[in-house]
């Protein structure tokens, strides 16, 4: 099918409607065709496949058993029958005049040829005609190996999406960077849209900096707590498909929230047919995958021990005795599990999908882990033929315990504390329940810390949306449809951190015991109305759409810090010294658009143009309308050369924006302080700009997509250039002015990149299929204009390496002090990244692997720096000594390391039990599938730290790749049973 279509589920429902009308239209010279649709690889029957005769209203949908009955097909003549089903290649067969029963096999659409991809807020087009590069990931690719957060399941699968976990902590905390850097200080994460509702991906820090004092040194960021970006709450198993709009050319219709790209998530919906129940039970374990292995002091002299640890070290020193503190802390293998139940079905007018999830990940570190429970109900209802209503609801509860990691100025997080504790000193709990303390630089025993402290993050979240589609007008050649959507996303995040007075480090401030309570409350409200008009005479199709959207985001964060706890109670009310803080943010946006799409020249030429206008309360002038135009075109050339089935050339242009952050327009006084209870106002030295406006990204993208070797291979090549102007910047003021910085718009950033996807079926025989897909991408950024003096950003100052923002340079380059000169010492941007997906299907056995290769990308390795300072790095003699000597010259390049890696991200071996066995042994089941799988199983890297995927400062495009005592990396192994009823 190659005509312009509406969103997939609407298309199938419409077909259903048509089918229901069909019997009444049946005429005498017609016959009935029956048949079965089968999966070519497994032989399984394919339910819900659309079967029909192209160009007519004759069509139906296969039932639960993959069977169909099609009335009203022409009698006495052959005709073309088209069969399509999501995830499979569309197939057309010729049915001979005499044939009344057919068996049609479908092939898994590994090459993603027959997908439908989004073109607007309410419109979509077949990928074959898409003029922009849009990546899609299907449920099948998401579900293979469990992960806590959906971004983790996209890692290595999408060209142009640099996805990195910030640490090994259970739960989320994953940065998604689409097509390079698009902002210096503005928002850097893509926009997430679930079933048409813009959902929050905010990351609320847990306030552990109160304990770690991470923000009192040279970098005052409070985002040093390994915080979780809240998209992690979604249940990945509910996702039907994900479309990724990587740049402005594709995302322009999302206006001033789209310059970092848009991730569109569609959840599963019910289908016509009897109830279908799927049950998946998984068991797994997490396993520490890398250690630092500190110096053992085997054979060391007392003088050496004394010079490192002082007299206490000499006292504790026993030749040949050493403890593996890392293993003691992070060597857990507790059983993790995931239970999934889903039920779906429906009749002519109503369909439903309901799912439940109970997940429990046990972290490798003592007392850490992640739990998630989710309940989803999606309903679709057709009313009076022309009305369709959909309601999607999802209730989620998550609980994360992530320990105490990341930067710290008190030497209490594990990789800051352990270097100062000799490996020959026993940290384990004594028989009397107490813990020993080594009287060194670290005031803590990490085993005691993790045994007694509590760091809990609990989230309750509700996602709800309703959509209404009305066929306002249906003519022979034209239709008018109203598509409206409204929804909300509410969550409450509560962080309870408790550090009892008995912790060794707790009395250091004279206020024994600390309890921290953070309460984050977020509400996103969305509403939109769209009109889609389609005019389709024989020769061409023209579609016009227009719509408007209102969006509101309200975030409130309340914090309580209680110290000097009465009787050591965790309740913040028991604190003798209490600090309270609140922050509120609210953004209201209004936008509208018009768009025109045309399919011409026998559907070979696709032209689109559109424009969006948007106002926002975050802009200085809330009345001003910012315009975001787009235009694109693609042209298909059938069989241009031998071995090339079809070639498509495409070019697309689009503009989008990146809103100022809340507060960047205000010039304010600080009303939160007092002295001995007397309130006082002081000037806030970070000054807003009352005329602040969104950053603007202009993207031009071009590419060629080729279908090769009779549909056996597909090659997509894309080049793009993004020019970002009106960057949100902070001008550093002369400190004597009393101001610190001021926000303003200015400058220009350019990103150029190249993306390639090559998908191929190298082998395809009756019972053996090998599918292979390779993705490649690279991007380079340059600041082409900077109206402020070059400045250092992020990191911990130029003596250790920081980001050097300067005209004519890469925005991700690292600079540092090398013998008195500030010079470039690295760049965190990888040279390129590649992903390799291979899948082998052989008689019900399915072997799937995903390798992820990153070449280049530097890391500031402060974890090693700390252990060098402590003189306890494993290779301290002589390598660490040499590093320290080099660092003292000074040379900020000393602790900057290459972060290249190759990781085996996913590996699955699955076995589908033959239908005969199932029927014999489990007659109550429809299908049984067993699988073993693993995630992040192998890492090959020269990086000397724990893991080259690291970010002390959370999700940042500029500022990440700083390694400062992260949660250690781990791999997971899973055994799963899937049952279908």
């Amino acid at each position: 099918m190659d005509q312009v279509v509406r969103r997939p589920h609407l298309a199938s429902l419409l077909l259903l409607v048509v089918f229901l009308l069909a019997p009444g239209l049946a005429r005498a010279q017609e016959r009935t065709l029956t048949g079965t649709v089968l999966d070519g690889a497994t032989g399984d029957r394919v339910p819900f496949a659309e079967v029909g005769i192209p160009g007519t209203a004759t069509g139906t949908i296969t039932d639960q058993d993959g069977s169909f009955r099609l009335d009203g097909v022409p009698a006495g003549q052959s005709f073309t029958l088209r069969v399509q089903s999501t995830g499979y290649r569309t197939r057309e067969i010729t049915v001979p005049p005499t044939e009344d029963n057919v068996e049609i096999t479908l092939v898994y659409d590994f090459l993603q040829v027959d997908e439908i991809v989004v073109t607007g807020r309410a419109t979509a087009v077949g990928r074959r005609n898409s003029a922009v590069s849009i990546a899609t990931v299907s449920a099948q690719e998401i579900e293979r190996v469990p992960a806590a957060s959906v971004e983790k399941q996209l890692q290595g699968k999408v060209a142009g999406a640099d996805i990195q976990k910030n640490s090994g902590a259970p739960g989320g905390g994953i940065s998604v960077d689409l097509r390079g850097v698009s902002s210096i200080i503005g928002a850097s994460e893509p926009l997430y849209v679930v079933d048409g509702v813009i959902v929050s991906n905010v990351a609320i820090p847990n306030n552990q900096v109160v304990i770690s004092a991470a923000n009192v040194g040279s970098n005052t960021s409070v985002f040093q707590t390994d915080e979780v970006n809240r998209i992690a709450d979604l249940n990945p198993n509910d996702i039907e498909r994900i479309e990724i709009l990587k740049g402005s050319a594709a995302s322009s219709i999302y206006g001033s929230k789209a310059s970092n790209g848009v991730v569109l998530i569609t959840t599963k919906k019910g289908h016509f047919g009897p109830a279908q129940i799927n049950l998946t039970q998984r068991f797994g374990v997490f396993d520490l995958s890398n250690k630092l292995d500190y110096r053992t002091f085997e054979g060391a002299s007392e003088a050496t021990v004394d010079s490192v640890f002082g007299p206490a070290g000499v006292e504790a020193f026993r030749q040949g005795q050493f403890f593996d503190h890392e293993e003691e802390l992070a060597g857990r293998h507790d059983l993790s599990s995931e239970t999934l139940v889903s039920m779906s079905g429906g009749d002519e007018n109503t369909s439903y999908y309901a799912s439940g999830l109970v997940k429990n990940d046990e972290g490798v570190v003592l007392n850490t882990g992640y739990e998630k429970q989710s309940l989803r109900v999606n309903l679709q209802q057709t009313l009076a033929d022309r009305w369709e209503i959909g309601v999607n609801t999802n209730l989620i509860h998550t609980e994360a315990q992530r320990g105490l990691f990341n930067n710290d100025n008190f030497l209490i997080t594990p990789y800051f504390a352990l270097p100062f504790i000799p490996r020959f000193f026993d940290l384990n709990q004594r028989a009397d329940g107490t813990f020993p303390l080594f009287p060194g630089a670290s005031p803590s025993n990490p085993l005691q810390t993790f045994d007694l402290m509590q760091n809990e993050e609990e989230v309750w979240r509700f996602l709800g949306s309703a959509d209404l589609t009305v066929d306002v007008w249906r003519g022979d050649r034209s239709t008018l449809q109203l598509v409206s959507n409204g929804g909300l996303d509410w969550f409450r995040q509560r962080n309870d951190l408790f550090f009892p007075p008995s912790l060794f480090f707790e009395d250091d401030d004279g206020l024994p015991g600390t309890s921290l309570l953070t309460d984050g409350d977020n509400l996103n409200l969305n509403g939109s109305v769209n009109l889609v008009h389609e005019y389709a005479p024989d020769a061409y199709t023209v579609r016009s759409s227009a719509g408007m959207q209102y969006e509101e985001r309200d975030l409130e964060i309340g914090r309580v810090v209680a110290r000097n706890l009465n009787a050591g109670q965790p309740n913040v009310g028991s604190g003798v010294n209490i600090q309270v803080a609140e922050r509120r943010e609210r953004v209201e946006d209004f936008g509208f658009y018009v768009q025109e799409e045309a399919l011409l020249m026998d559907e070979r030429l696709n032209l689109t143009a559109g424009i969006r206008g948007e106002q926002s309360s975050s802009n200085g002038d809330t009345e001003e309308i910012f315009w975001y135009p787009k235009a694109n075109a693609s042209l298909r050339f059938p069989e241009p050369a031998d071995g090339v089935d079809e070639l498509k050339a495409r070019v697309a242009y689009g503009e989008s924006g990146n809103q100022p952050l809340f507060g960047q327009k205000f010039i304010s006084l600080d009303a939160t302080k007092n002295i001995a209870g007397n309130p006082g106002l002081t000037f806030i030295p970070v000054i807003g700009d009352p005329s602040i406006q969104p950053e603007r990204t202009r993207e031009i993208e071009g590419g060629v997509d080729a279908m090769l070797f009779d549909g056996r291979a597909r090659l997509d090549l894309t080049v793009y250039q993004q020019t970002i102007t009106d960057l949100l910047l902070e001008r550093t003021l002369a400190p004597s002015s009393g101001g610190d910085t001021q926000f303003f718009n200015g400058g220009e950033l350019r990103v150029r990149g190249f993306e390639a996807v090559f998908a191929v079926t190298p082998v395809q025989t009756e019972d053996f299929i090998w599918l292979s897909r390779t993705t490649f991408y690279m991007d380079r950024g340059e600041i082409t204009e900077l109206p402020v003096p070059a400045f250092a950003f992020g990191g911990f100052g130029t003596s250790l390496g920081a980001f050097g923002i300067a005209e004519g340079e890469s925005p991700t380059r690292l600079i540092g002090n090398v013998r008195g000169e500030i010079v470039e010492v690295g760049d965190i941007n990888p040279d390129f990244k590649m992903g390799f997906v291979n899948e082998i299907i052989w008689k019900g056995v399915n072997v799937y692997s995903l390798w992820d290769w990153q070449q280049g990308g530097d890391i500031i390795n402060l974890t090693t720096f700390i252990s060098d300072l402590a003189q306890t790095t494993g290779d301290f003699v002589p390598d660490g000594q040499a590093r320290l000597a080099r660092f003292g010259t000074p040379d900020a390049g000393t602790y900057i390391e290459d972060g290249s890696f190759v990781k085996l991200r996913e590996l699955t071996v699955a076995y589908e039990l033959p239908a005969a066995w199932v029927e014999t042994w489990w007659p109550w089941a429809r299908s049984v599938r067993l699988s073993v799988s693993g995630r992040d199983l192998l890492t090959f890297s020269d990086y000397s730290g724990l893991d080259p995927e690291v970010s002390n400062f959370g999700n940042q495009q500029i500022g990440r790749n700083v390694d400062t005592s992260p949660y250690p990396p781990n791999r997971s192994f899973w055994f799963s049973v899937d049952l279908g009823f």
Binding site: Q579, D589, T622, I625, F666, L669, G677, P685, G739
Partner: protein, 452 residues
């Protein structure tokens, strides 16, 4: 059929028109009041809060673990910050030709946060000019005068702390201009002192017209100095210190005479920064596990007649388990008795210093006998030490500096500033071969760049 091709653009136009008409997108700042509210429509309450705010601003970066007391303590060899997580306090502070001008935590804040409070005072002074004379909604002329005198005195204190850290590198004076205007020139130490004296004299004039009470609350650290008349004594005390610093010893004696100096009053009588544990208040982070006292404090201390060390050492430092070395530095002394809790106060200026300043002024004027009397008063009453009978013009300066060292130990860089003023930084102890004693912080890099 209806020609939808014609209707659609019409519909689209309607949509756009409706959209454009129905928007009123306003989200105010929920977190803080706007500066315009104070500067353009000041009220009695907002002006009073802005006045109290000057004490909050003046307290910023004083008692932090890397604030004024801590960093000047390191340079004056009174303290260490043995921070294993950030060893620059044990390296950069002792190395190089000059201190690094690039780091806020290692000197930049000592400049920036003082100028922030200088701006706070200028914002308040602007607001006072617009404030009505009505005592209910505004302030009476006398109340305004009292507030002006208060603001300019605090401003003078901030300028003094700036020039104390920058010394010969100078500082900026003319800062009451829009933040985006080209920055004012950096002027000499002498010019800055002159400006401070001018501010203190202007403030004194305002305070004298200021009636009986301030129209805003001061912190408990100002107890006894919280009316315009008593606050003037604090103003004069600051003037006494500045006049000593710039060598105007006669002026210093006059100012000290009008201050609260008294050998009959407690030595601790004075003005302090208050810290507190209430929400929105600030705790003192000098009480920090990484901050230690310099071992020379114990080693150099004189003994009392009973064989015990100087009573000031006993009052201010305590012995603990030796710290594991950080970059070769270690100590077994902490300041716990001096700052026993996170809510202890930090002295701004107090009677003991004033007595020593009077001694110093007398030394400068050659009236040694008066100086000997004050010094011996401090030796006996603060240090528990016997009077010294051998003091003369030749040795009295060293004795004064010794007494100032122990009397004003770790209270705000007095040791470093005093030794610098007499060219004696070379006499401070050196911990490691190659260590240097820096004489001043550099002008911050951002201040330099803003002038390029």
């Amino acid at each position: 059929m209806i020609n939808m091709r014609k209707i659609l653009p019409l519909l689209a136009t309607i949509l756009v028109a409706v959209g454009a008409a129905c928007t009123s997108l306003e989200a105010p700042d929920f977190n803080n009041p706007s500066i315009d509210e104070l500067q353009e429509n000041p009220t009695r309450a907002s002006a009073a809060a802005a006045a109290t705010g000057l004490l909050i601003g003046a307290r910023e970066n004083i008692g932090e673990f890397n604030g004024y007391v801590s960093l000047t303590g390191i340079l004056g060899r009174e303290s260490y910050n043995l921070d294993g997580a950030d060893t620059r306090y044990a390296t950069e502070m002792y190395q190089g030709a000059v201190l690094n001008p690039g780091s806020p935590a290692l000197g930049g804040n000592l400049w920036a946060l003082r100028y922030q409070n200088i701006r706070n005072a200028n914002i308040l002074l602007t607001a006072l000019d617009r404030l009505l004379d009505d005592p209910l909604t505004g302030m009476t002329p006398a109340e305004k005068e009292a507030t002006r005198g208060f603001a300019k005195t605090i401003q003078a204190l901030d300028f003094l702390l700036v020039i104390n850290t920058r010394d010969e590198n100078g500082a900026v004076i003319d800062v009451d201009r829009p933040v985006l205007d080209p920055p004012a020139p950096i002027e000499s130490k002498e010019a800055v002192f002159a400006h401070i004296v001018q501010l203190l004299e202007e403030a004194a004039g305002h305070l004298q017209n200021g009636g009986g009470e301030f129209p805003f609350p001061l912190s408990p650290g100002f107890q006894g100095f919280d009316t315009p008349a008593t606050f003037l004594q604090f103003n004069r005390a600051l003037l006494g210190r500045v006049e000593v610093y710039r060598g105007n010893f006669a002026g210093a004696l006059t100012a000290l005479g009008e201050s609260f100096l008294s050998t009959a009053a407690p030595l601790d009588l004075g003005v302090y920064h208050s810290y507190g544990g209430g929400s929105g208040d600030k705790a003192l982070t000098l009480v920090n596990p990484t901050i230690f006292a310099h071992p020379s404090i114990d080693d150099d201390a004189e003994e009392q007649t009973n064989g015990e060390p100087d009573a000031r050492v006993l009052r201010k430092v305590t012995q603990v388990e030796p710290r594991a070395p950080i970059m070769g530095l270690t100590s077994d002394l902490r300041f716990d008795p001096l700052y026993p809790s996170p809510f202890s106060s930090v002295a701004i200026i107090r009677n003991e210093e004033l007595i020593l300043l009077r001694a110093e002024a007398n030394i400068g004027l050659g009236t040694v006998a008066a100086a000997i009397e004050d010094i011996n008063f401090i030796r006996v009453n603060s240090g528990g030490l016997p009077q010294r009978g051998d003091l003369n013009a030749g040795n009295i300066l060293d004795e004064l500096l010794d007494q100032k060292r122990y009397s004003l130990l770790f209270e705000g860089g007095h040791r470093w500033i005093d030794m610098r003023r007499y060219g004696k930084l070379g006499e401070l102890p050196i911990d490691r071969p190659g260590d240097v004693v820096h004489a001043a912080f550099e002008i911050p890099i951002d201040e330099q760049l803003a002038r390029e």
